[in-house]
């Protein structure tokens, strides 16, 4: 029946085994996520049911729940897919590189039109739906866990747990802060100039983290409340 039924050439047990079943399941997962995102776009948040998603994906309602335990879970998988790209980049960095630099480089990979487009859409939807906001939180948290694992792997199993968690959490927080600020000020603007700004935010955020948010400790006497002002941002402004 199927022209591709021959066993995989590699027969690898370690790597992914692209059996027909696995492929189908992966395809179904993607179909569900795509259908859900599409309905979100077309009908708006809360204006459709799981049954609608299932219909759009060409499966039954029951099968939907075989793949995702809830609509939120399906959405979280979208965000996860986005953040996983950063994870992937992080793992590719040389182990000798300082973690913060690796993180910065990894986050930089997100400032790519094709990569960030779905996330930007997700972000905008997040603003108006507590349910999606929670999905986003979960995704960031999931990413944090992954970073912790990756960093532990890099630094060795005897790495200080507090150090690992504090660092990973802070890195993610800063990445999130950069994306939030970027998104709030340039609503889904994916132009090259806008993406350049996002990159700069990511760099700035990592810089702040690396310097211990030091802008305040230096000037022992705080300089009143008058800055040189200006609309721009580069000044740390206390």
């Amino acid at each position: 029946m199927n022209p591709l039924s021959s066993p995989d050439v590699l027969g690898g047990s370690d790597a992914a085994s692209p059996s027909r079943r696995e492929l189908n399941k992966a395809a179904t997962r993607r179909a569900i996520a795509t259908a859900a995102l599409g309905l979100l776009r077309d009908k708006g948040v809360g204006q459709f049911t799981v049954e609608d998603i299932a219909a759009a994906a060409g499966i039954s309602r029951r099968t939907f729940f075989n793949y995702y335990s809830s609509f939120e879970a399906a959405m979280a998988s979208v965000a996860d897919g986005f953040l996983d790209r950063a994870l992937e980049q992080f793992r590719l960095r040389p182990a000798s590189e300082p973690v913060l630099e690796s993180a910065q480089a990894a986050l930089m990979a997100l400032a790519d039109p094709a990569t960030i487009a779905p996330m930007a859409e997700f972000f905008s939807l997040t603003q108006e739906s507590p349910s999606l906001a929670r999905s986003e939180l979960e995704a960031w948290d999931h990413c944090t866990s992954q970073i912790i694992d990756a960093a532990r792997e890099r630094l060795g199993p005897r790495a200080n747990e507090l150090y690992l968690r504090a660092l990973a959490g802070s890195v993610i927080s800063c990445g999130k802060a950069a994306m939030t600020v970027w998104f709030e000020e340039s609503d889904s603007d994916l132009s090259p100039a806008s993406l350049t700004r996002l990159r700069q935010y990511l760099i700035d955020a990592m810089g702040l983290l690396g310097s211990g948010f030091a802008s305040q400790t230096a000037p022992t006497t705080l300089p009143a409340t008058h800055p040189s002002d200006s609309t721009s941002s580069t000044t740390e402004r206390f």
Copy 2:
């Protein structure tokens, strides 16, 4: 009827107006949260319904939903109450103090037996319930928003938004990391010695943040992360 019905002495329009109705609602809120926590303790997670909580709190199922939109929301309010204590402390710190020091002092207030007891219980339940884990995430996120507001208020409205968000997020992440590590290693041990360790973790985490997680870039001597040393891990390990 009520011996306390006289109008509040302050007559403040801005402050909370403790009218009888408000007091009753607050009492109901507390009753619900208490009942929910009690059932969680007695029956275990997922072994009871909203109707059970309502019965335990002496109200109807419908009224429960007048106060909380879900069981998770009720649980998040518990965690919020805990973290709000830290917020309160933060706002009490002098505005001239560096933010990181204020944050450290505020977090220190959490390492108090009476304060942390409910949270420790909440934490332990969190481990075995994705639903409660999400409530916890929401609580941390809520706290982050509050910190951002508080810091913005302190630094002036013209503060760099990226700086604010990155700093607040990192502070919370580090506080969370300290509590997580503490909780994982001393399961709900509220002894003075254990709480001292928690305080040290909080101090260490803030120290890491303030020094930009510098242990790898330059061994310039990190600011005394050695308490008197302890069981093992204090070495930064890379």
